[in-house]
């Protein structure tokens, strides 16, 4: 079937419309953040006008966007590593070991997948305030409060369990015959074979932690601990701030997600296909 020229034109128009609707706004904030021309609230430029880095420099030094960016990056880095490590260890037990209680533990973890985090925000807030035994301090208002509640994530436990189940027994048995202990089997046999799945849980963990809003809102009080998504709303209240600068901060908050998404596309798509995405 040959496509005629008008058909091609129509297709092109639809593609252009999709790109404008889904990417246009991102292009707009980028162009505006790099323009010297001051915009009115609600205005976006289609093309950078008198290109400049000024707004970013101002956002970085005066608004101190770097503090919030640093907080976000620190939380997302430690959080993703902890989340993936803890999930991989649990998945190893659930996928490769037969033990009494396995089904119950699976079910308990799975049940939290249906649990919207929002509905436990009130008790979670009180728990973050509780003083820890022995240490006598609470984790409220610390990096720990921003990170630790995100470590247990059913999605990554289950994705990794599924992948680890697929690893052939023979490989494990062969390593065992060679005298490998459990930790060696985990690190040298299983982990290398599920690396693609680890990539998938890493990117979804990254996006999930970066997107956290309610948790930082209830977990910390000091502005110096705010993550970049949370600080946006409080900057908005600063009416004196020039619109371009605010947009520059928004761009700073956007870039890490887009970069990670573009770098880990393959792993991202695999995760989507696994069908267990919690949106």
């Amino acid at each position: 079937m040959k496509t005629t020229f008008p058909q091609k034109l129509a297709r092109g128009a639809v593609y252009a419309l999709l790109l404008i609707v889904f990417c246009g706004p991102f292009w707009g904030i980028l162009a505006t953040a790099f323009s010297k021309t001051t915009v009115q609230p609600g205005q976006l430029l289609i093309w950078p006008d008198q290109p400049t880095f000024d707004h970013f420099i101002y956002a970085w030094t005066e608004v101190k966007a770097w503090i919030y960016l640093f907080n976000s990056l620190l939380v997302v880095a430690i959080g993703t590593v902890l989340q993936t490590t803890v999930s991989a260890l649990a998945a190893y037990a659930l996928a490769r070991k037969k033990f009494r209680g396995a089904a119950f533990i699976s079910l308990a973890i799975l049940s939290t997948m249906m649990l919207p985090d929002e509905v436990i925000s009130i008790p979670l807030y009180l728990i973050l305030h509780q003083k820890l035994p022995l240490l006598g301090v609470s984790i409220y208002n610390s990096y720990a409060a921003l990170i630790l509640p995100l470590v247990g994530w059913a999605f990554s436990v289950f994705l990794l369990t599924e992948f680890m189940k697929a690893v052939p027994r023979d490989l494990e048995d062969a390593a065992r015959v060679d005298g490998a202990n459990e930790i060696q089997i985990f690190l040298k046999v299983i982990v290398p074979l599920v690396k693609p799945a680890l990539g998938t849980t890493t990117i979804f963990g990254f996006l999930m932690i970066w997107d956290q809003y309610l948790l930082p809102l209830i977990a910390v009080d000091d502005r110096s601990l705010y993550t970049i998504p949370v600080v946006l709303r409080s900057l908005r209240v600063d009416e004196i701030m020039q619109q371009n600068i605010f947009i520059a901060v928004t761009v700073i908050a956007t870039v890490p997600c887009i970069v990670v998404y573009l770098l880990l596309q393959k792993q991202f798509n695999r995760g989507l296909m696994s069908g267990a995405v919690k949106g």
Binding site: L18, T85, E118, L272
Partner: protein
């Protein structure tokens, strides 16, 4: 080795599970239980909490402000599901395939889906700025329309925040539809061609029936996302103007963190939780029934 290996073997899975169990218990299981218990109390700052039985739940059922928020939530859920589902289906039909330009467009339209909601909210506030300068208002101006109030107009605000959710979720739903399209037996299309079926008939008789599982997943995810929606509302309108975009979660947040009425907020949260679990169970039941026939 002094430890007899066999005797301690049973501990191995538990040692691997231990970190996960600690985190899940601390930040999921305990909060769930605590929330459930709090629902039956009036939580006080000074002195002991007071047991109030089902009073919090009774109050929830007669609370007219919560009722209004629940109604907004329902409108939000159904509109985002229907509009988002249909648009995503259309986009999937357009962007199905492996050609390079199609793959690039698919990658590009994912930007709203991977960006944090807080950023999207700011983008939305710029696009729908309620004055002549706003992006959407200036586009409408080209067609001679007056500037609209959008999120500052109680009659339009809910519609605008619904659009945000639709915009953000189309890419995810599209991917589910594309996976579904790839799973449809090609021979069915060939058979339809032999019968001389029009493209529209093929869509109706082959494509859509083949996508029932995809539709069911998309609807389900959209329902769960919709009922628990918080950040999308809190960062755009905060529930206003005049409560026109107040949903269940923003109302819980205000009850709990602004009015410090923890017990009541916990009770409403628990009702929402039970409801979403019920939805999930119903979904699984319906799905099983479909796959059996």
């Amino acid at each position: 080795m002094s430890i007899e290996p066999k005797r301690w073997r049973w501990t191995i899975p538990w040692l691997f599970l231990a970190p996960a169990l600690i985190f899940f218990t601390w930040f999921k299981f305990v909060p769930i239980l605590k929330g459930l218990i709090m629902s039956f109390y009036q939580v006080k700052f000074i002195g002991a909490d007071r047991w109030v039985g089902l009073a919090n739940f009774e109050r929830a059922l007669t609370d007219s402000a919560l009722g209004a928020a629940a109604l907004n939530t329902l409108i939000y859920v159904f509109s985002t599901t229907i509009a988002g589902g249909l648009l995503a289906f259309a986009v999937a039909l357009i962007l199905e395939g492996q050609a390079l330009h199609i793959r690039i467009i698919r990658t590009a339209i994912f930007f709203p889906a991977v960006t944090s909601v807080a950023v999207l909210a700011e983008v939305w506030r710029i696009l729908f700025y309620p004055a002549q300068t706003g992006v959407v208002n200036s586009i409408l101006g080209l067609f001679g329309a007056d500037p609209q109030g959008f999120m500052s107009d109680p009659n339009q605000a809910l519609f605008v925040v619904i659009l945000l959710q639709v915009w953000k979720n189309i890419p995810y739903s599209m991917v589910i539809f594309i996976a579904g399209l790839a799973g449809i037996n090609r021979e069915l299309y060939d058979a339809a061609d032999v019968d001389g079926a029009s493209p529209l008939r093929k869509l109706w008789h082959v494509t859509i029936p083949g996508l029932v599982p995809a539709f069911s997943v998309v609807i389900m995810l959209s329902f769960i996302r919709g009922f628990r929606v918080f950040t999308e509302i809190y960062t755009t309108t905060g529930g206003g103007p005049a409560g026109s975009t107040e949903v269940i979660m923003t109302s819980i947040f205000k009850t709990g963190f602004e009015r410090l009425d923890y017990g009541y907020a916990a009770a409403v949260s628990f009702m929402l939780f039970t409801f979403t679990v019920g939805l999930t169970v119903a979904h699984v039941a319906i799905k099983n029934r479909f796959s059996r026939t």
